[in-house]
């Protein structure tokens, strides 16, 4: 029940923001902030529930209510360690996204925060939904407010970016809907019990070819969201045109729903089919790592550059998932968390620069370290995180993934490791173009304000803590090794 | 003295129809297009009448009558439109009128 409250708080907070914003925009901002903080507190409080489940293997909370019983749709939400981590990430980045839109959004404040909170609600719904219909429902809920965020508060090419984002994801979603329905009917015909329930459908027996096609339907949706390389084109446009909070949510959370979907649905539903497609997925993942890095190197638009680094980093996630290794799976979870933080931080940084310089073009920047020493320091921290420097969270993630993948696929793992060199190349180029050299910007730029300092400090501390004390995360998702029969040490 | 063959008349009707069609295609003036449409309608009427004559039935002529009525109604409305168009746009060029469609 507490899970539903979390979503309801977000939804009603969003409506409240919309209603109050016309009279009191400031109050709307505070409502939004407090709403997400309240959810964050609830999510933290959930740690207490763990104490009842010391073995970390089962579902902590499992709540089911009838919704549309005649077709087997129920309001079924459940929480395990993996979902809980993602919820924490969602609310953490949610707080930061509210904070970083504090000054950026000047028009239609109410509707902005409405979209932001509803999108967050959709995302948290995705992470806890245990009914495929509910899952699809939340999947769409997070998509549409995000579309509005881009199309109303975005940059110059926002319409193009928003439509591209919408069409790409919608194509994937519809295929997933088809796959869900196929699974529903196959299961219903076999057992006579028509249900959308996750646990009910979990042991549906499908023959090889059917399973393969249904799996591809799911995989396609998640691959577009992740994004896997040939389907990544929406991402640079959407990320670069979205407002800062939009980029933060997109990079930090929306991409993670793809990874979450693969781990939560594709692997357990289709154990054999997912093994048979694994080499291709690893290949695509490695391609993504290298290709995203190459593209990131050549970009001149700061947010676009960061967006392509996301493509590269998400390649690691794909490699990790499909190498069916326990270590790699822990690495994937780490990568999901740390990429959300580090790339989110880079986007926030890009947003701060844009606020000051009114450009995203790195060829027009340079030498900013002189006037913004603090932001420069933070930028070094997060570019280095992005380049996989040890002691920061991303290193643990990439190290685990590559190490886990190495046992089964040494060649691909080695090629993926070469991505580390490329990540150094693009990270350093970005640092150099923005912060080094003679200062070219003539307008006076201020270093970070207190509000920005809070955002950056929260992100920095969390990335360092994840790098030095990853063990709690690893323990929380230990049970993921049982999610697929082929996962080995 | 031989009698008239049905297809001879039909060919005449076809020729007239095609001429009307060609007229509708090549002229840009709305008045001429209307005239061409009249020619086509007339040709169709001719074909009906031939058919009626062929089977010694009155139906052909009845159809012709309907066509006639339809043509009269159509012409009255069309000409009213022509008047209005000329009044507003000072042209009867169909190509120019097309540009004004929005």
């Amino acid at each position: 029940m507490i899970l539903i409250w979390m979503i309801c708080i977000l939804l009603s907070g969003g409506i409240l923001c919309w209603l109050t914003a016309q009279r009191l925009p400031l109050l709307a901002k505070w409502i939004a902030l407090l709403t997400v903080i309240a959810d964050m507190l609830i999510a933290c409080w959930l740690f207490r529930v763990y104490e009842a489940f010391p073995d970390n293997t089962s579902w902590f909370i499992n709540y089911q209510a009838n919704w549309i019983p005649s077709v087997g749709i129920s309001f079924h939400v459940a929480l395990d360690g993996f979902s809980h981590l993602l919820l924490l990430l969602t609310f953490f980045l949610g707080i930061l996204s509210v904070l970083c839109s504090w000054k950026e959004v000047r028009e239609k404040t109410g509707f902005y925060f409405f979209c932001l909170l509803w999108s967050l609600a959709g995302i948290s719904g995705v992470f806890i939904a245990m009914d495929l219909f509910l899952f699809y429902f939340c999947w769409e809920i997070m998509l549409i407010p995000m579309f509005f965020l881009i199309v109303i508060w975005g940059d110059a090419r926002r319409r193009y970016a928003a439509y591209k984002f919408f069409i790409f994801t919608q194509v994937g979603s519809l295929l997933m809907l088809l796959a869900i329905l196929a699974l529903y009917f196959i299961h219903g015909r076999q057992t006579g019990n028509y249900t959308f329930d996750y646990f009910g459908l979990l042991h549906t027996v499908t023959d090889g070819a059917t399973a393969k096609w249904i799996m591809l339907g799911f995989l396609f949706a998640f691959a577009i969201k992740l994004p896997v390389v040939p389907f990544h084109n929406w991402l640079p446009d959407a990320h670069s045109e979205a407002p800062t909070a939009g980029s933060l949510l997109l990079a930090g959370l929306l991409l993670k729903t793809g990874a979450y979907g693969i781990i939560r649905f594709v692997l357990p539903f289709f154990p054999e089919a997912s093994v048979s497609i694994a080499p291709w997925m690893i290949f695509l993942g490695v391609t993504g790592i290298i290709y995203g890095a190459l593209l990131a190197f050549s970009q001149t638009d700061l947010k676009r550059l960061i967006a392509y680094t996301s493509v590269s980093h998400m390649g690691f996630v794909l490699v990790g998932i499909f190498s069916f290794s326990n270590i790699a799976m822990q690495g994937v979870v780490m990568q999901i968390l740390t990429h959300g933080i580090s790339t989110g931080a880079l986007f926030v940084m890009a947003g701060m620069l844009k606020e000051r310089l009114h450009t995203r073009d790195i060829t027009q920047m340079g030498g900013l370290w002189t006037s913004m020493p603090a932001l420069g320091g933070v930028a070094i921290l997060f570019t280095m995180a992005s380049a996989g420097l040890p002691a920061l969270g991303n290193f643990i993630a990439e190290f685990f993934i590559l190490l886990g993948a190495f046992a089964g696929n040494p060649v691909f793992s080695v090629i993926a490791t070469l991505g580390l060199i490329l990540s150094a190349l693009y990270s350093l180029r970005m640092l150099q173009k923005v912060f080094m050299g003679q200062q070219t910007v003539t307008v006076p730029v201020k270093d970070i304000s207190t509000r920005e300092f809070i955002i950056m400090a929260a992100l920095s501390i969390s990335i360092v803590i994840l790098g030095l004390f990853p063990q709690p995360v690893i323990d929380t998702v230990r049970h993921l090794s049982t999610i697929h029969p082929s996962i080995h040490e | 003295m031989s009698s008239i063959h049905a297809h001879t008349v039909l060919i005449v009707a076809a020729i007239l129809f095609v001429l009307g069609l060609a007229g509708a295609l090549i002229r840009r003036n709305v008045i001429f297009m209307l005239l061409s449409i009249e020619i086509m309608l007339n040709a169709a009427g001719l074909a009906f009448v031939v058919a009626g004559a062929r089977w010694q039935q009155p139906d052909g002529q009845i159809m012709y009558l309907f066509i006639l009525a339809m043509a009269a109604a159509e012409v009255s409305v069309a000409l009213a439109l022509v008047l209005q168009i000329h009044h507003q746009h000072k042209t009867l060029d169909i190509e120019q009128l097309k540009e004004l469609k929005d």
Binding site: P230, T370, L389, F400, L402, F406, T417 | I94
Partner: protein, 628 residues
């Protein structure tokens, strides 16, 4: 004592945190106090630790577990520190020389705008370097390894406003990253084969798990070697080090001479069991070392920038260490690291003082006549150069280099060709050391000196000069005095050097080495002080100048990599800037737009078009009817 181990890296880390977070609110004196003080306290703790260690029985190992880093399945790594004799030597050098260089920097960087940033980066470097050598598992070692890379990047590009500086920084980071990546692949392979990344376990298990010379162990050894090559600027990844001289002189002294660049030496000697199991990897190490020392030495002979001379000389001296390790003379390699750290740090610091005094003049041919003007610097620099040139018996460099030359022939992996290269390297070293002294300090004055360096800068020089002479006396060739304090300690950890049977007398080799280095000094004297006609003749000869330019550009490795790697990479990324796969999707969109245009062309509102369309349709249908 063990429970205080963590203080050694933690103090510089605290210094870093304080300076980086609160640096802009602190006064310069306070910054200097924190920056230098933290390292000095670390050095003190290290000295106490070292004294304790010498008193304890042989084979003592200090360990301290800070916390469990991660544990998943078989894979576990802890943040735990481990000190044995080998680590201790490195820690001593790092903290002791580090402390001296920090003290020197207090004065050297006094007028810099980013005083706090400098000390913060230096402290972080010391911390990372200490973690590197104190790590008990390879993941923690890699953490330190990358950490020193980051600090090296930050400090090379310290004056980030000049393009050459940040380019050098980028180059250094990327090239060492290439080596690091090979190394981490080596880590994966080790884990796959042995299932552990704990260094003592690896050393024990590898002998049980692998046959000597098996392909896997060779591959592991070569991958680790690649990591070492990148960090230690050996062939073929040496090109970053000369450019790295763009950083401030204390940075060059600390990072690019004394400590970080020798991390490769540490890694290889730390993983010595793996290398010993793979003769091929040992040979490769030796050959790389020998070739590097020769090539870098040749380049050092013709450089005109004082710091670049020293940089090439550093590459060359690390080449000696690699050569020594490759032939199996582990303790000789570590001993050379030990002495080299003193005299090369000394040379860099003295060079920094000279450059500072001469208003940032780097070209040695615009210096000269400084012997009278700055006597302290002159004498200390001369001592350093003499040690570099291996002036017999009085300098530390002689004792270490003499060992290496002897083992290059006589040790288990030795070979006359390696010895010949090392010997010619010794000649070259002596030659360019002399050249440096003569051109910089003798002759006529070409640039008027500014303010002379203060006491804070000269005292570390004097201390280092003392160690550049006395540091060698703890290890004498056994046919002279038979003092082997150093190798006794090292051999607690590293294997004893095995000699070949039926060798000539060692004294012959020693005499040859002495003669060669003295001859090198004389040649330098003849060519550069007496201004012989040979020199003027060479200056006019086109061929000689071609060779000179070739060597000046570091055997044109930069141009080679530029053509082979950098340009193709830039080309690929440039042409693909707008993402070729995007064409697929814009293509789909374009097709739809075209179709839309096509259909809206027919739907153009022209009545005549519609009639024509109807006509065509009728024609089509009737034709069909006629044909079918």
């Amino acid at each position: 004592m063990e429970q205080y181990l963590y203080l050694i890296p933690a103090l510089p880390l605290i210094g870093f945190l304080v300076l980086s977070l609160a640096g802009k609110y602190l006064s310069r004196n306070f910054i200097a106090g924190i920056g230098a003080g933290s390292v000095c306290v670390s050095a003190l703790i290290t000295i106490i630790l070292g004294v304790r260690f010498l008193q304890s029985p042989p084979g003592t190992v200090y360990t301290q577990l800070l916390w469990h880093w991660f544990l998943t399945g078989h894979l576990s790594a802890d943040l735990s520190l481990r000190i044995d004799a080998l680590s201790l030597i490195f820690i001593c050098i790092i903290t002791f020389i580090g402390a001296l260089i920090h003290i020197y920097s207090i004065a050297f960087m006094r007028n810099d705008r980013d005083y706090a940033r400098f000390f913060a980066s230096m402290n972080l470097f010391v911390c990372a370097m200490l973690l590197l050598v104190m790590a008990d598992n390879l993941v923690l070692l890699y953490l330190g390894w990358e950490g020193v890379g980051l600090c090296s990047y930050l400090l090379i590009g310290f004056w980030y406003e000049t393009p050459a500086n940040y380019r050098a920084a980028n180059k250094a980071f990327v090239i060492t990253r290439i080596g690091d990546t090979a190394m981490i692949i080596g880590l994966f392979l080790i884990f796959k084969e042995l299932g552990t990344l704990y260094i003592p376990d690896i050393l024990i298990q590898s002998t049980q798990h692998f046959n000597s010379g098996s392909a896997t162990i060779t591959l592991i050894a070569l991958l680790l070697l690649s990591g070492g090559i990148g960090k230690s600027a050996q062939l073929p990844l040496q090109t970053w080090l000369p450019d790295a001289m763009a950083g401030p002189s204390p940075v060059s002294a600390l990072i690019h001479a004394a400590t970080m660049v020798t991390a490769g030496v540490y890694l290889i000697s730390r993983m010595h069991t793996i290398f010993e199991l793979s003769p091929l990897a040992m040979h490769v190490t030796a050959v790389i070392g020998a070739v590097t020392l020769f090539m870098a030495g040749c380049s050092a002979m013709v450089q005109t920038d004082i710091k670049r001379v020293l940089a090439y000389s550093t590459i060359s001296q690390i080449g000696y260490m690699f050569l020594a390790m490759g032939v199996g003379a582990w303790s000789a390699a570590i001993f050379h690291f030990f002495t080299h750290a003193f005299f090369k740090a000394l040379l860099f610091l003295a060079a920094g003082a000279v450059i500072e005094t001469l208003h940032h003049e780097h070209n040695i041919f615009k210096m000269g006549g400084l012997r009278k003007e700055m006597p302290v610097i002159y004498y200390t620099f001369t001592i350093g150069a003499a040690a570099l040139a291996a002036l017999p018996l009085v300098t530390a460099g002689f004792f270490s280099k003499d060992q290496i030359l002897w083992y290059a022939w006589s040790a288990g992996g030795g070979h006359p060709a390696l010895w010949a290269l090392a010997l010619s390297g010794a000649f070259i070293t002596a030659f360019y050391s002399t050249r440096l002294i003569l051109v910089v300090f003798w002759g006529d004055m070409k640039t008027t000196p500014g303010h002379l360096p203060s006491g804070i800068m000269t005292v570390p020089l004097i201390i280092l000069a003392f160690f550049s002479i006395a540091g060698g006396w703890i290890e004498w060739p056994h046919n002279l005095l038979h003092i082997s304090l150093f190798s006794e300690q090292v051999q607690q950890v590293l294997p004893v050097t095995q000699l070949k049977p039926h060798l000539p007398e060692e004294i012959v080799f020693q005499l040859i080495a002495v003669v060669v280095s003295l001859f090198g000094i004389y040649t330098g004297y003849a060519l550069y002080y007496r201004q012989s006609e040979l020199m003027t003749l060479w200056r006019q000869s086109a061929n000689v100048m071609t060779v000179r330019n070739f060597l000046l550009n570091g055997w044109r490795f930069d141009q080679l990599y530029d053509t082979l790697l950098v340009r193709p990479f830039l080309f690929i990324t440039r042409i693909n800037k707008s993402d070729v796969t995007d064409k697929l999707y814009t293509g789909i969109a374009d097709i739809h737009l075209q179709l839309n245009k096509l259909f809206s062309f027919f739907q153009n509102g022209s009545l005549r078009w519609y009639v024509a369309g109807v006509l065509i349709g009728i024609l089509f249908i009737i034709t069909l009817q006629l044909l079918l």
